[in-house]
Every structure is written in C-alpha cells, then in structure tokens.
Amino acid sequence: MSFLEIDNVNVGFGPPTSRTEVLENINLSVEENEFVAIIGFSGSGKSTLMNLLAGLQPPDVGEVRLNGEVKTIPGPDRGIMFQNYSLLPWLSVFENIELAVKSVFPKMSKSEREEHIMNYINMVKLTPARDRKPHELSGGMRQRASLARTLSLKPEVLLLDEPLSALDALTRSDLQDEILKIWGGDKRTVVMITNDVDEAVLMADRIVPLTMGPGATLAKEFTVNMERPRDRHTLNDHPEFMRLKSEITTFMLDINKESKAKNPADVVPMPDVQPKDFTPPSATLKFSHLGNKSITPVNETSQ
C-alpha cells in the first residue's frame, strides 16, 4: 500500500441521462517523500484532479486514500497551494499565515507561533515584506507567501496546483529552485500539476501525463532517473533530460492528435469563403497619373 492513493476514481457532471465524465478510471499511487508531477493540456481536468486530492470535490466513484485513510473533505494534512495565490487581501503576509497556523495548531503558544511563522517567512525570503498586504506584493512574492502559508500547516502531502503558471519566466525559474531547495531540506510528499514539460522534468521524480478530456485518465508514467540536485544551467546538455523531454513532448502531442481524431466534431469546419475583389473597376484610369505602370486588379479567376 502506498502513502497517497487514488483508487479507480471517476468524476463527472450533469444528470445521469447525459453525463459527461471529466475524469475516468484514475489510478495513482504516490510513495512517501516522492515528488510526482502531473502534466496535461489545459482543459484536460488537471484542476479537478487537484480538487479531488485536496478533498474540495468528492469523487463520484472510487476513493482517495492518505496513509490508508479515506479522505472526502479538505484538511490541513493535504496542504494545497492554489494557482492564483488565494491570499486574503485584507491581511498582511504574517497575518495570512497566522490565520492558518492558529486554526491548525490552536494549542501553540503566542511566542512559539510567532517563531513558527517567521521560520516559514524566512524560508521563502519574505522577511522584509512580512507586514505588507498582498496587493503591495509582486506576483512572485505573493506565490512565495502562499507557499509559506501552505508549508506552515506542516502538511503530509503538498499539492501544488500549477503554482508557477501565472508568473513570468525569470521569476518562475527562481521559484522552481526555491521550491526544490525547500523540498530538499524538508522532504515531503509532493504532487504538482503543471503544463510545462521542462518544469516537470527538472523538478519531479516521476511524471504522469493526463490524457485529453472528456473522460481523461492517467497514461503511462515516466520515471526521471536523474541525480539531485539538478542544475538548470547544465541540464540542457544532460542526455537523460533531453531524452525525457523529447519523449514526453512527443507523447503529449500524440495524445492531442489522437483526441482530435477521436472527436472530429471538435474541429470546427471553416466556411467556404472566397476572397472578394474590392478594387474599383476604373483603377487603371484613376491611377494613370502615376506613370505608365498600370494597376490592374489581381484576380485569380481572370488569370
């Protein structure tokens, strides 16, 4: 039995007569302290899968188990970091984390709590911004604050829902390193959702592709056999990295093609439109002062 398991889960919506399955036959087992990346196209049901793991959405069929225990409602044991930060805008960074810590560790004394919070603020390097409100922070800083809040819950599983997709490329690579460093120092089970193959190969132990929805399911997984720490500067020369990257990319593109072939209705037929000729018929006359170059309308039918 694995640490975190998704067992034959189906999720869908709509009445029973015309049901649309979003996820079908999802089976995933994650070992303790493993870093798993789930990669998929947008609209394939990645966020639904994350909500399922977090307990924000119950499965229609099957169950989600953590440590052998069935989970149906959300809780601090599965710390989720949302794509759009979800910081409370009326609280400062410190207060945002404090709210979380207070509700998860109510017995902590005041000084202990403060130390605990500052520890995580330091970890994400937000110490100078501890009393800032979210709207005074940049996107990267907000995501750091969100990370600190999630980590401060001391979750057994860290769920990262496209945590970096809203950031620019430079901030993104910076935060990737940050997350990896924190994970390296404080091993924990991580499930990360992403749409970036490079990011997945750089960060994860295992990469599981999600096929196109509706009725998306997890496909054959890729194991990343690369020693840690991985250096992004030399990675491009790493044969294993190149191989995995091209393999996964090819696989994903194939999935996309397959799904298009499967659902030809998705391909919107283009209307049969011919270009119209708007050149005035007397153009040759009007432009005659330009010289001898006569301007004749380009008309395919006439040629």
Binding site: P76, R78, S86, L91, A100, S103, V104, H135
Partner: protein, 541 residues
Amino acid sequence: MKFFSKIKYPLLKLIDVSGFKVFDPVIRLLYNEEPQKQVRDIVKYMVLPIIFCFICIWAWNFLGPRHKTKSGEVPTPIEVWNVANDNYRFSEREEEKKTAFSLDGDKRKEEILFVKSEIVKLEEKASFLQQESMRVTEEVKVETDAKLAPVNARKDALKAEIKQAKAEREAEAIAHAEKLMAGQVTPDSLVALIKKHKEAVDEEKAKSKLIGDELNEIRDNPPKRLKEAQLAANKMEDEVLHYKKRIDYLTKGNKEQKIAGLIEKSDTAIAALAAATTPAEAVKQAKAVVSSSEAAESTAEQKYPPAATIFYQTKRSVATVFVGFLIAAFVAIPIGIMCGLNRVVMACLTPIISIFRPVSPVVWLLIFQIVIGAFFPDPETHPLFMFMNSPSNPLAFLRTDPAMIFSACTVAMCALWPALVNTALGVSAIDKDHLNVAKVLRLGFWSRLFKIIIPSSLPLMFAGLRISLGVGWMVLIAAEALSTSDGLGKFVWDEFQNGSSASFANIILACFVVGIIGFVLDRLMIILQRLVSFDDGSAVA
C-alpha cells in the same frame, strides 16, 4: 525642514483618503514639485469652480429680487447671510440668559453692574437710531410728497377736465334729444351719440387709473434706506430688550435668588409656627413650611429652558439621523449576511424587500406614529424619556420625545434597504478561492464568518451604508416637517407657516445647513469606506 519633507506623502495620502483630492496640487506646489503643472491644475480644478460658484451667486443675487412672490421677493445672498447672523445672535442670547439664570454670589453682582452699564450704552445707541429712523422717515415723507405733488396736480387737473367734459356731454345729449323731439334727427343717431359718450367715459377712467397706479407705485416703494433705518432701530431696540431680560434673569428670575426667597419664606413660616397660638394657625404655617421647602427643592433641580435655536435643531437632526442609521445598520447587516450566505433566506426575503423598498417615507412615518405611538401612551412618565431627559443625562439637551423616535424609525426603515442589499451582494460575491482556503483550514462557522466572509464583504457593506446615510438624511428632513419633531425639518416648516419678513431667507438658510451637513456626513462615510477597503480604495468612486 526634514519633518516638512517627511510629511509630504502622508499628507497627500490623507487628502486622498478624505476625498479632497482638489487640494493635491496646492500641497505639491508648496513642495515646489513641477510648479507650472500644479498652477495649471489649480486654475483648472480650483479657480474655475470658484469662479463658477461666484457666477451662480451673482445670478441668484440678480434674479432673486426680480421674482415677486406672495411672501415677498426671493431673498438675496446678503439677506440670507444677515439672517444667518441673526440666528447666531439669537443662540448667543439664549446662552447669555442661561448663564444669567444660574449665576450666583459676587459674580452675579458683577454681572448685574456690567449689564446695567451696557444697557445705558445700548439705550443711547437705540435712541440715536430711533431718532435717525424718524429723521429718515421725515425725509422720505418730504421726498415722497415732493414726488407725489406733480402727480397729484395732474390728477386734479384730470379730475376737473373730466368734470367739464361730463357736463359738456350731458348738454350735448340734451340738445340732441331736443332735436329728436323736433324730428330733425333719427333716434338711432341719439343712441350712437350716447355710445360715443360712453367710450369717452371709459377712456377717462383708464386715464385716472393710470395716474392712481403711478401714485401707488411711489407710495409703495419707499427708498431702501427707510427700511434699513427702521430695521436697524428695531434691532437695537431688540438688543435693549434682551439686556433687560438678562437683568430679570440675574435678579428675580435667578435660580439662587428664587431658592433663597423660598427658604426665607419657609423660615418665616417656621418662626410663625413656633409662635402660633391657635391649632388652625399652626396647621396653616406647617403647610406653608412644607410647600415652600418643596418648591425650593424643585427649583434647585431646574434648568434654564432654552428656546429652539438653529444650532439645537441641527444637533437634534444629526442625533435623530444617527439613531435611525444605527437601527438600520443593526438590522440590515445581520439580515444581509444571512441573505448572502443562504439562498433560501434570500428567496424568502426577496418579496418583502421588493415590496417595501419603494414605499414612501411619509407612509412609514404615519404607520410608525400609530404603531410605535402605542408603546408610549403617556410619554411624560415613560421610563425611556424620563431617563433621556433627566437633568443628569448628558443627552438631555436633545429633549427626546416620541416624535423623535418616529422620525428615527422612519429614517431606519428607508435607510435599511441599500445597506441590506449591498451586504447581501458583498457576502454572496465572495471569492470562491477564499472559501476554499477556509475549507482547507477547516475553519468553523463563526471563524469563517468573522475571518473570511465579513472582511471580504466590508467594502461593499460600507458602500451600502454610505448610501443609507444619504437616504436617511434626506428622509429625515421630510419626516421632521411632517411629524413636527424638533429638527431642521421643523425649522423649515415653522418658518413656512409663520411667514415673517425673514422666513423666506430662513428657509434658504436651512437649505444650506441641510446641504452642508449632508455633505459632511457623506465625506465621513467615504473616509470609513476607504479605511476598510483592502484594495487601495480604487473601487471607491
């Protein structure tokens, strides 16, 4: 100097939060930041509006006196300003009488001497002004007579002319009739002649009316200085009367004096009781002792009964609107939160909100007078009013009465809806991600409510409360006028009813007072709203 440059941005932020962004260029100019741009902004956004205001005042000053109404001309800005000063003096006098009422000991004696010396000076002034006014009256009379004389002469001439013409016409008619008798002319020609004469009479009448009008015009429009002189004399006379009244309050109307008199009375009664020879005499004296000592006690608790000045009316209106607004907020916010949280509650309340929201405040006032009036069958002895009006209560100056409660309830009823609807909207529009955070943290209902839901809906809630306060203030003035509850509404209504020479100006003054207070209340709410907004206040208009 360092401090000076340090407070620049806090200062700018302050004027931004308080909604006086107009002064932004002034501050920047003080700091010498891009002076040309600031001067341009000042001209555009301060000087031009001020010029526009002056144009409006000038238009008012120009057009007002040209519109004649049944209650006089529309008062000019200067008249309104004078009326404002009169109102101020009136409230000052009330204060002076109040202090005179409660002064005692040496201070009272000093005050008496001071007031008496003032009276001498004022009487001098008053008699001078009286003479001046009489002189002006004489002068004006002479002037008017001089103006009237030629017109009167013309009138007499016209009268004589008419008389002569009448005699001539009559003679002509008789002569014509004689000719008719002799058969020289036809009867028709006589009728025609009489008709012609009638036309002449009408013409004469019109002429004499014209002259009469001219006379009236001169008599009815005495020069302005006459009115001014009379007014000044009356004002001074009034002032003298007030000082005499003050002497009254310092001597026999004085609280301590009254008490001393009563104690003396009871002392003599005690002495008489000791010396009483018959039982009937003894009983009578004992009764006198009791009644005079009781009277002394009740006098000791007495306070000066101030008249209703415009300041009192304003204070009372503001107090009433706050009571109503607080009732509205206490009802609207919990209900609004429930509506936002639960769609069933929302569905239950929607019909009630939709039906009662458009009801006029006047209807609510009448309903409340009946319904809530039932709680105070005898307001004099009701514990609420006894408590509010007891001399030791600091709010006793408001003179709380049932009419105030009705007005406050009407305000509450009308101010309820914007706050309720906005709160419900704010709660139901809460970001789903924030609720997900609450779910992950497994917050309980109360901490979810107080830590997530209420803070996130505060900006919309305060936007609603701001509208509520504005609506409440507008409704209140009407409610006060109708329920004759003391306040600015009643001030306006009383002025409309009593129709003195100053009432029109007083009504316009009240209009400005109401407007300025409404503006201040709105600003206060804007500041509050900005303070609770977490998104830089950019959502606030």
